[in-house]
């Protein structure tokens, strides 16, 4: 592992150090659920005692807790708490358009996306959850080793991936997906992909990372814009005159994305690279925390 990787990972871990370990609420159980350390506050497979229940017909006799039953006339069954870990799949956009920073004093969208992915992953791992990376040869894992692997995987091809959308690969049903991107590819494609995933019962959290220049369009005068992903160039006579319509267009896209998320029961978050990573992480944390169902 090279030095920058290490610093980035340490930075990511430090970023989340003030937050409690994150445990994903698993309402729906993903098929890949592995045994985990967290009680799910319901009965199920696990090792920790949960409750005694009176024997009912249909329960297998070997579930009977004889010691408890001997204390009274009734027959009790010992139930254990369901302990399971959820797997969270990350999709971090690593297309060339992410590799952009309008000024030297702010980080590129790519860097911020990776940082947030790692920070979230670190929190999840501390919470005992499993993390995995879409579009990579990465079986769900937990612990420090998983974090290290995730770091190197994200570093490996940052800014050079061709696809700006998550693959339609078959994720296990009811998985959790964190989808970090700039969401600048055509809306229809994003929508189609999101719907496919939602149809498989996947719960998603979309984080749109934008550069301040992409929000404010601070250019003036005669400008020829050039894309990063082979788009055609676009000449503008008076760039400042475009500011208003551009802002509207961006706004409408964000509204559309938010609506889409709402329809699918997903979460849509936005973040600008000139803001602190901490704020974005807070949002992600809240979006993923178990309490959100109650709050929302």
């Amino acid at each position: 592992m090279t030095a920058p990787d290490k610093t980035r990972r340490l930075r990511a871990e430090h970023l989340g150090s003030t937050l409690l370990p994150l445990m994903v609420e698993a309402e729906r159980v993903a098929a890949t659920v592995a045994q985990g350390v967290h009680g799910r506050r319901r009965t199920g497979a696990g090792e920790t005692f949960w409750q005694f229940r009176q024997y009912q017909p249909g329960d297998t006799p070997n579930m009977i807790d004889w010691r408890q039953s001997a204390k009274s006339d009734r027959v009790f069954i010992r139930e254990r708490e369901w302990e399971a870990a959820q797997t969270v799949w990350f999709w971090c956009d690593r297309s060339p358009s992410m590799n952009y920073a309008s000024r030297k004093d702010i980080t590129s969208k790519q860097d911020r996306a990776i940082l947030l992915s790692l920070a979230t992953a670190a929190l999840l791992v501390r919470g005992g959850e499993y993390v995995s990376l879409m579009d990579a040869d990465f079986s769900p894992a937990t612990g420090r080793a998983a974090l290290l692997r995730l770091t190197s995987e994200l570093e490996a091809e940052s800014g050079f991936r061709a696809n700006s959308l998550p693959p339609s690969a078959d994720l296990p049903r009811y998985a959790d997906v964190i989808w970090i991107s700039d969401f600048l590819s055509p809306l229809a494609e994003v929508e189609a992909r999101a719907k496919t995933m939602a149809a498989a019962g996947i719960r998603g959290t979309m984080l749109q990372i934008l550069d301040p220049a992409e929000v404010d369009l601070p250019f003036r005068g005669h400008v020829r814009f050039e894309g990063l992903e082979g788009e055609d160039g676009h000449s503008v006579g008076k760039a400042n005159s475009l500011r208003q319509p551009y802002a509207q267009r961006l706004q409408s896209r964000q509204t559309a994305l938010a609506e889409l998320a709402g329809r699918l029961g997903w979460t849509f978050l936005t973040h600008q690279t000139d803001k602190t990573a901490q704020s974005a992480l807070m949002n992600l944390y809240q979006a993923l925390s178990p309490g959100r169902g109650a709050a929302g």
């Binding site: 600048l184 590819s185 601070p218 005068g221 020829r224 050039e226 894309g227 006579g237 008076k238 475009l242």
Partner: protein, 944 residues
């Protein structure tokens, strides 16, 4: 300011090609064109470009060239067009509107050099006027030409033809000859109406005439006389500079003065009357033009001359090549100084350590005392002394002149140096052949325990001797001398003898210089001579042999011209090298001031000595109009306008680059921070500076060695090139250092290998030098280093490692190849006499008491310097033996010995270590153990 002033009279502004101004009409078209062509767009990378495409744009071609850029470009166009139309500011109308020719009479003697450009401007203005009126012009110069031919009258020419002639006109570094000019102009009388302009230098002529009394006198035609003479040709206008601008003359003040000190040089600056009070600065420079001294004096109101004294140390005075009046650009304001001004400098070299224990008894002290009234002395080694010129070099008891020094010295003598050597113990024991007569080894003691003879006095000097005439005091006795081998030319080369006829001073001429040997010491060890006044007299005579005094011009032999001063006081190579100077010649037409003679004996000829005190023109006849010179030249605006246009073009170019975002480091986005735009430029400049700084990096490597060698006490060994020997030396010294560390308080670091060809040796207290037969011959540089090392207190242990072949060897008579090689090396060094280590030598008691010094072998003798009385604390610079000590000391990393020792085995190895420790203590602590020698006496005294 001048420009503004001239622009205020715009009526005088004219265009030489006014037709081009029509191009200004095209400006509106240009305006339109520039407006139509927008600047190319900035290029911006933008990921969200998909959101941009298809957005409605308010204007289709909205980007225009900004108005200020448009204005800038139009301004550039206007400037270029105006410049091409060639605007010129041309004043002046001195010519009357009459027909007939114009005659320009120009004083082009030395005095015109001040304000020469004003004169050219004036003539140019006159020519421009004559050109406008289409009148022919004739040019008459009043000073003789380079070849000394008298002034001639030029042909009638058109002003246009004459302009290049006038531009090329140069003042001559001698006087004008107005009488001859008038005579030449007689041809013109009756030619018809002409207008005469006399561009005068404003000084009356003062040509020196040699009158029989030998007293210098000056004569010349008066200005009013000349003006009236000119008037015969036509109406005369005199154009001249105001009196305050008249030139000043610098001469040497030879008049004796009460307050003058010996060694002080005095000068006079003269000026014409009536110029108010002003300051005058004398500047003394060396041949390269560097300023050595500067003196300021002040002319009081109506004072015509001022005296200045230059009071500088001799070595600085000797460097002065010229003195000039600051801000005065004429030949008369320059004094060239030749060798007559120089005091000779004497270099002192001693074979002994200069800072010896007894400085008041050293040769240096005597020589220094004797030479101070006569010359400047400098002390150093031969190499440093020769780096700057010395006239005389005195070597006090230097036995051998080693290596490069010898070649340098003999070259220097051939070029005229005088080398005076004094004898002494070193020269007597091991002298070289760099002496005038062959010497016998050893000295002759006239008065001593073993002799019957008595100290001898000097015989009166012979006529052929340079000492002839010096009085010999009775009490000068010579007690000891070195003797010359009798030879055929011995008596020719003898300048002084003792009563018994043996030479005491011999000399030989080599090339242009002299090699002189005094057969006694320069201190009082061998004779009383240094106590006497005779010593000073003899040294003075010897110094007078040296160059530094320019010989007078012998007979009629004329001196060739070397360098000339032009009228502006600048040295030039002579136009005509055939010019010569005879004794008593002054500056005259065709004989400019400058240097004459040969490079070694230059004589300066100065203009000032040929001039009388300057006198301004008296009142001129009323019929003659008198005006000032033209100060204001015709101003040509073309270059100025073109320069401004070019600069603006560059600005425009930079702006264009910035607008397109092409300047590196300027982020294309916006003008969010102006400072950031210049990041690129700053980076570039920083880069250049960094490159410059890295050049100085190379010096550091040399220091590393010096630091490593000097920060810790280290032993060193000479790298012979033989791997086996070098490895053994390294191992041996490492083991010795370890043993020394264990047994004594010396904490040495690991030894270093050195190569005298490359490395500096002075850092090491002890150098182990294994001698191998095929050791390469040392270069002169290395020899000098070794020599300096030994003289500055270092010790070298020469180990021939060949005891097994010698049996009982003798370093001076032995014959093994190593010994031969060593002898070869020592012959080229200045080695004092050697003896086997005597029984009470400090080496035998520096730490352990021991009488023999075995190494791997044993039985040989070890040699040290004999005379080690006070120099370097009595530590011998050389220890020579053949016991192969390094092999005896050497161990591997586990401490197992690397080489077997003969005979005694481990006992002998222990002795070898003890010798090593003794040697290290000896070189580090010097003679303090010598006190033990006195222990019996001290004990005895205590007992009483």
């Amino acid at each position: 300011m001048e420009l503004l002033a001239s622009l205020s009279g715009l009526s005088n502004l004219g265009f030489l090609s006014p037709g081009l101004l029509l191009a200004l009409l095209a400006l509106p078209g240009l305006w339109w064109l520039l407006r139509m062509t927008p600047p190319p767009p900035k290029r911006e990378v933008f990921p969200a470009i998909r959101l941009l495409s298809g957005l409605p744009q308010e204007e289709e071609t909205p980007a225009r060239t900004p108005w200020w850029l448009l204005a800038l470009r139009l301004l550039i166009a206007v400037l270029i067009i105006t410049a091409l139309a060639h605007p010129v500011f041309a004043p002046g109308d001195r010519l009357s509107n009459r027909d007939g020719s114009v005659i320009l009479v120009v004083d082009n003697g030395w005095a015109s050099a001040t304000g020469w450009s004003d004169r050219i401007t004036t003539m140019d203005a006159l020519l421009a006027e004559a050109e406008r009126q289409a009148r022919p012009v004739r040019l008459v110069t009043t000073a003789a030409r380079e070849d000394g031919a008298l002034p001639v009258v030029g042909d009638l020419m058109s002003a246009r033809e004459l302009r290049p002639v006038v531009q090329a006109l140069q003042p001559r570094p001698w006087q004008t000859d107005r009488a001859a000019t008038l005579k030449a102009m007689e041809v013109l009388t009756g030619e018809g109406a002409a207008e005469v302009f006399w561009i005068a230098d404003g000084l009356e002529e003062s040509a020196p005439t040699q009158n029989p009394g030998g007293q210098k006198a000056f004569s010349g035609m008066m200005s009013d006389e000349f003006a009236l003479g000119l008037q015969k040709t036509g109406p005369v206008s005199v154009l001249r500079a105001p009196p305050a601008h008249l030139p000043r003359i610098l001469t040497v003040d030879r008049a004796p003065s009460s307050d003058s000190k010996p060694g002080q040089s005095r000068f006079i600056v003269r000026r014409s009357a009536g110029s108010g009070s002003s300051e005058v600065t004398l500047v003394a420079r060396d041949p390269e033009g560097r300023i050595l001294d500067r003196r300021i004096a002040r002319f009081a109101e109506d004072e015509k001359q001022v005296r200045l004294a230059l009071d500088v140390p001799n070595d600085i005075r000797n460097k002065i090549a010229r003195i000039d009046v600051d801000d005065e650009k004429t030949a008369a304001a320059v004094l060239l100084l030749d060798e007559r001004w120089r005091r000779r400098s004497v270099g002192l070299v001693s074979g002994q350590n200069v800072e010896g224990d007894q400085p008041l008894l050293s040769s240096h002290f005597y020589l220094q005392k004797a030479l101070v009234p006569v010359a400047d002395t400098r002390t150093g080694d031969i190499d440093t002394l020769l780096k700057s010129p010395v006239s005389v070099m005195v070597l006090a008891d230097v036995g051998r002149i080693v290596g490069r020094d010898r070649a340098q010295l003999s070259r220097w003598i051939d070029g005229g140096g005088v080398l005076v050597r004094f004898a002494g113990p070193r020269l007597a024991e091991s002298g070289d052949d760099f002496v005038p007569v062959p010497l016998r080894t050893g000295n002759r003691v006239l008065a001593g325990a073993m002799t019957w003879s008595t100290p001898a006095a000097l015989m009166p000097f012979e006529k052929s001797s340079p000492f002839h005439g010096l009085e010999i005091p009775d009490d000068v006795l010579i007690r000891q001398q070195v003797l010359a081998e009798p030879s055929a030319n011995l008596s020719d080369r003898t300048w002084a003898r003792l009563e018994d006829g043996t030479p005491i001073v011999t000399a030989e001429q080599r090339g242009q210089g002299w090699l002189v040997l005094v057969h006694a010491t320069a201190n009082a060890d061998w004779s009383d001579l240094p106590f006497s006044g005779l010593f000073i007299g003899m040294l003075e005579r010897l110094i007078n042999l040296a160059h530094g005094v320019t010989p007078a011009i012998e007979g009629n032999r004329a001196l060739k011209a070397l360098e000339h001063l032009d009228a502006f006081g600048v040295l030039q190579s002579p136009l005509d090298a055939g010019k010569t100077l005879a004794a008593g010649d002054l500056v005259a037409p065709g004989r400019p001031p400058g240097f004459y003679g040969t490079d070694s004996t230059r004589q300066a000829l100065n203009l000032g000595s040929a001039l009388a005190a300057p006198r301004a023109f008296g009142p001129l006849p009323l019929s003659i109009s008198d005006a000032g010179l033209e100060q204001q030249p015709e101003l040509d605006f073309k270059p100025l306008l073109l320069t401004i246009a070019t600069l603006l073009l560059i600005v425009d170019f930079i702006i264009s680059l910035m607008m397109r975002g092409l300047i590196p480091g300027v982020p294309g986005t916006t003008a969010r921070s102006a400072a950031r735009r210049y990041t690129g430029l700053v980076l570039l400049v920083t880069g250049l500076v960094a490159v410059g700084a890295s050049v100085s990096f190379a010096q550091e490597t040399d220091d590393e060695f010096a630091m490593a060698a000097s920060l810790d006490t280290r032993l060193a060994f000479i790298i012979t090139g033989n791997t086996e020997v070098d490895a053994m030396s390294q191992a041996g010294l490492t083991a010795l250092t370890e043993v020394v560390r264990r047994r004594t308080s010396v904490e040495g670091s690991s030894p270093l290998g050195v190569d005298p060809e490359i490395d500096e040796l002075v850092f090491f207290p002890l150098i182990y030098w294994p001698v191998i037969p095929d050791m390469p011959r040392l270069s002169d540089v290395a020899l000098a280093r070794v020599d300096a090392y030994m003289k500055s207190g270092g010790t070298i242990l020469f180990d021939t490692r060949d005891q097994q072949f010698v049996g009982v060897g003798n370093i001076l008579g032995g014959a093994t190849p190593e010994q031969a090689r060593l002898r070869n090396l020592l012959r080229r060094l200045d080695v004092p006499p050697l003896i086997p280590v005597p029984p009470r030598h400090i080496l035998t008691r520096a730490f352990y008491l021991m009488q023999d010094f075995p190494g791997r072998w044993s039985g040989g003798r070890v040699w040290v310097e004999r005379h080690n009385g006070g120099v370097n604390d009595g530590v011998s610079g050389l220890v020579i033996g053949g016991h192969d000590w390094a092999a005896a000391w050497a161990t591997d990393e586990q401490g197992n010995p690397l080489a077997a020792v003969v005979s005694e085995g481990q006992g002998q190895r222990e002795k070898a270590y003890r010798f090593g420790i003794n040697l290290v203590m000896y070189v580090l602590t010097g003679n303090y153990k010598a006190d033990q020698v006195h222990v019996p006496a001290l004990l005895e005294r205590l007992g009483q």
